[in-house]
Each structure stands twice: as C-alpha cells, then as structure tokens.
C-alpha cells in the first residue's frame, strides 16, 4: 500500500514540475528560446507574491491574482527590451543573455531579501487532506495537479481556438512569413513571454505554499522544468505534464528507498528516457 501512496505523491509532485515546465515550454515552442532564467523568474514571482501579501495583508491566492499581471508586464518588457534584440539564427546570444539574467535575478533577490528561507502561508488548507480509499491526499498537492491540468487546457485552448494562438503557431512555424501576413512577431513573442510569466506566477504560488524558497533555488527548478519538457517531447504541453509526473514519481520512489536519493532518482529517470526515446515521448512530427 505504501507504494501506491508513494506513486500518488509522485504524480501530485509532478503537477508542480509540469507547472514549472509549462512556461518554459510555451516560450521554447514559439520562439525556440531556452530561457535559462525561468527558474529564477519563478522565484522572483514568489517574492512578488510575498511582498503583496505582507504589504496588503492578503492571502497568497489573492496576492497571486495581483502578481500575475505584474509578472506579465515583466515578461513583456523583458522580451521587448532585451530578448527580442538578441533573437536570431544564432541560438547562443539569447542563451547567454538569459544565463546572465539568471545571475542578476538571483543576486538581486539575495541583496533585497537575504538568503533566508521564505514561505507563502495559506493557513489551514496546507494541512487539509482528502481520504481516497486507502490513501490520504493533501489538498494543496491535489490542487497543484488540478491547476497544472487547467493551465495546460487553457494554453491548448488559446493555441488552437483563438486568433492569438494561431498567430503564436504561425510565428513559431515561420516568423518572417508571419510578418508578411500582418502578424508582428516581436509583439507575439512579448505576449508569449508575458503569458509564460503568468504561468510562472501560478507555479510560484504553489511552490511557495508547498515548500520553503530562497533566492538560490531557481536553477534547480529550471532543471526539473527542462527535464519535464525534454521527456515530454519539445512543443507538446500534455507531454510536458507527463514528463513532470515521471520526474515526480521517480523522485518520490527514490526518496522512499532512501531520502538522499530523491533528486538523483529524478535525474536518472530523465537519462533513462533519453536513452530509449531521444526525442522525448511525444515529439512533434517534424521538429
């Protein structure tokens, strides 16, 4: 029975990793940009929620609602004023810029908030659980997985049923031709990064409620997100969810065997899947 419980906890943890990864996948899918600062931007969003909570006396969920448009603006500005200037045929410049950005965000947060661990306190909901047959499921982990599914459903709806989504996909296919059809690729990229930051804010909310965070934890979140995206197959959001869940289950099983093996087990699962499916589980047909 303990194994069923462990796997279930892994699936729920996977929801959080899928949330980390969805923003990364969105940006990569549209502009082939690997944002190495994605993890740090999630941590930044967590601190923004924290500031709003303490200054306005709000709970984390309300604070995240206010933080989301702020982070959208951060993403939009970041893309418009920094990343659009380095996007091109060469993938190295944007990679270097986002790497630099990661260092700047980490050290900026360290300067302002110190290295102390923080947490977003959500009150009694954190300790609540539901009994599903033989196993108990925490409400917050369940909510995290549900939110991951909701975010992916919403992004899929946006991608396949709206004019903006068609512009995203057209720009992803061929930005130059999209420009000749009246789409403004720079603007599309800025909106995409803004949306990715809204998803980052949602993941920051659940990260901050579930666990402690401090300015240094961004790169590890990026790594989990990156692994989830690669396992799922680049460009597939549902694949990203599956990738997140696989890493979550591997970590939970590793931790059940020996707590020191949690992180290692996740990385091993990633390597194993890459060995057998180098293009991930659900690759796009012609990428």
């Amino acid at each position: 029975m303990i194994w069923i419980d462990t796997i279930l906890q892994g699936v729920l943890l996977g929801g959080l990793y899928a949330l980390f990864a969805a923003g990364l996948s969105l940006v990569f899918g549209i502009m082939r940009l690997v944002n190495l600062a994605h993890g740090d931007l999630i941590v930044l969003a967590a601190f923004v929620i924290l500031i709003i909570m303490s200054s306005l006396g709000l709970g984390p969920f309300m604070a995240a609602l206010i933080a989301a448009p702020i982070m959208f603006a951060v993403g939009w500005a970041l893309q418009t004023y920094v990343l659009n200037r380095v996007l091109g045929d060469d993938i190295l410049p944007p990679l270097l810029v986002t790497f630099g950005l990661s260092v700047v965000i980490q050290n900026g947060l360290l300067e302002v908030f110190s290295a102390d661990s923080q947490k977003l306190s959500a009150g009694s909901i954190e300790a609540q659980s539901l009994t599903l047959g033989p196993v108990a499921v925490g409400v917050m982990p369940l909510l995290t997985l549900v939110m991951a599914v909701v975010v992916i459903l919403a992004l899929n709806y946006l991608f396949f049923h709206t004019a903006l989504g068609r512009a995203f996909r057209a720009t992803s296919d061929d930005a130059v031709t999209a420009g000749l059809m009246g789409v403004r690729p720079d603007n599309i990229f800025a909106i995409a990064t803004g949306l990715a930051m809204v998803v980052a804010t949602i993941s920051a909310l659940f990260l901050g409620i579930r666990a402690n965070f401090d300015p240094s934890i961004g790169p590890a979140r990026l790594l989990y997100a990156f692994e989830a995206v690669i396992i799922g197959g680049l460009g597939s959001l549902w694949g990203t969810l599956v990738g997140g869940i696989i890493i979550g289950i591997a970590q939970a099983l590793g931790a059940a065997i020996n707590p020191a093996w949690q992180i290692l087990a996740g990385h091993l699962a990633f390597v194993l899947i890459l060995l057998f499916r180098p293009r991930g589980l659900f690759p796009r047909a012609n990428d």
């Binding site: 512009a167 059809m181 009246g182 403004r184």
Partner: protein
C-alpha cells in the same frame, strides 16, 4: 489611376546591381506580367515592392503614398499581398487556419467576417477538399493554390504572384489561370512574374521585361513578345 509607382529604384548586393534604375507605373485594376531570364532581378523587384528589401535609391509609391520606408508588415496591411515562388505555408496550421491568420492580421478582419471571407476564398481557389488538412502535407499544386489563397486573404488591392505556375502540369496550370482570372475580374490589380508564358499572356494586359536589373521595355503583350530585342535576350533566339 496609378496604384503602384516605382521611380528610379536601385538595389545592389555588394558590387552586383540587382535592380538598376527601374521606373514602372501600374494602373489600378491592371494585370501586368514581368518576364526576364533567371537572375534578371524579378524577385528582388517584388521584395522591393513588398518592403522585404529597402532600395538604395529611388522611391516606391503605393496608392499615391510614398511607402519606401514603410515596413513589409505595414505594406501588407495597406493592401499589398504576395505569394512566394517557393510556397511557404505555415506547415503546422490547417489550410483554413493559414487563411485566418492572413485575414485577421493582414486584412484586419474580425473573426466572424474572416471566417466567411476565408471559406469563400478557399472555394474560389479549389481548396475546399483539404480545408482542415495541415498545410505541411499538401502536394505542390495545393501548396501553390494555398499561396494564392493566403495572399488573397490579406484583402490586397495589389497582388504579386511569383512564378506560381512553375512545376505544374498543363491541366493544373489551366485551373490556376482560371482562378487568377477570377481574382482579376474582382478588380484586384495583379503583377505576375512567370516563366510559363502561355499562362501569363492569357491573363495579363501588359508585359515588362527585366534584364540584368534594368527595365528593358514595358508594353502590350504582342508588341513585347514580337520585339527582336526580347526574342534575343529573353528567349535566346538570334534574330
């Protein structure tokens, strides 16, 4: 009334003058063909008209307005549509979605208007059978039709067709010519670069001949085709 005027337009790539002091006027509702040997600068001329390239000298006027420094995107919105020599559909989008993008962003249409408009174009261009198919999987003729359809979806007043009949069978070519004639009848001005001369001359009113970046002559179809200069330079026939 003139819809497009190129005035002494020049463009060089390094030492090579690809467009050399070209002056050309196109009347509203006209169908103009552009011919010339490979490397004559025909596609470059299109790129100068659409704004993909900026001229080194000279001006481009569209509808009485100087658009020389206007971006390609804004020229699409102003009413210059274009199909590519090598079809460049959005491969992951369906045929219908390809047109919707062009109609909503290039043609500034709302969703409901755009839907009717695009289905109408899809019917007129014979793509109804493949309306939901991903564009990446279409055969050449369908891709060429999609190029034409997508350019039309931007609601152009001037449409530039770049070797759209190349690589097609005679029957396919005949179908395409009928479609293009239909577009012309609707009042859209057409400039068409084409090597398939029988297709071209069955549609256009005038021909312009480019050679080594220079505008050799512009005139009626018969006058140009019978000109000894054109026969020698373009068709390679000693007269």
């Amino acid at each position: 009334m003139t819809i497009l005027a190129l005035k002494s337009v020049s463009k060089s790539f390094g030492a090579l003058k690809v467009t050399n002091d070209v002056t050309l006027e196109v009347e509203r509702g006209e169908a103009l063909g552009i011919i010339g040997p490979n490397g004559a600068g025909k596609s470059t001329l299109f790129n100068l008209i659409t704004g993909n390239l900026k001229p080194d000298a000279g001006t481009v006027e569209f509808d009485g307005r100087d658009v020389t420094r206007v971006t390609a995107m804004d020229r699409v919105r102003a009413g210059i549509g274009r199909s590519f020599q090598i079809p460049q559909p959005f491969t992951h989008l369906s045929v219908y979605e390809n047109l919707l993008v062009a109609a909503q962003f290039g043609g500034n249409l709302h969703r409901s208007e755009a839907a009717h408009f695009c289905v109408d174009i899809i019917e007129r261009t014979g793509l109804l059978q493949v309306i939901e198919e991903p564009a990446g999987g279409l055969p050449l003729l369908q891709r060429k039709r999609l190029e034409l359809a997508r350019a039309m979806a931007t609601s152009p007043r001037l449409i530039l067709l770049d070797e759209i009949a190349g690589g097609l069978t005679d029957a396919e070519c005949g179908d395409l010519v009928r479609t293009i004639k239909g577009i012309h009848r609707h009042g859209t001005t057409i400039i068409w670069i084409e090597h398939v001369l029988h297709a071209l001359t069955s549609v256009v009113d005038r021909l312009a001949v480019l050679n080594f970046g220079k505008m050799l002559m512009v005139g009626g179809v018969n006058a140009v085709m019978n000109s000894p200069e054109v026969k020698e330079i373009y068709l390679g026939i000693e007269v």
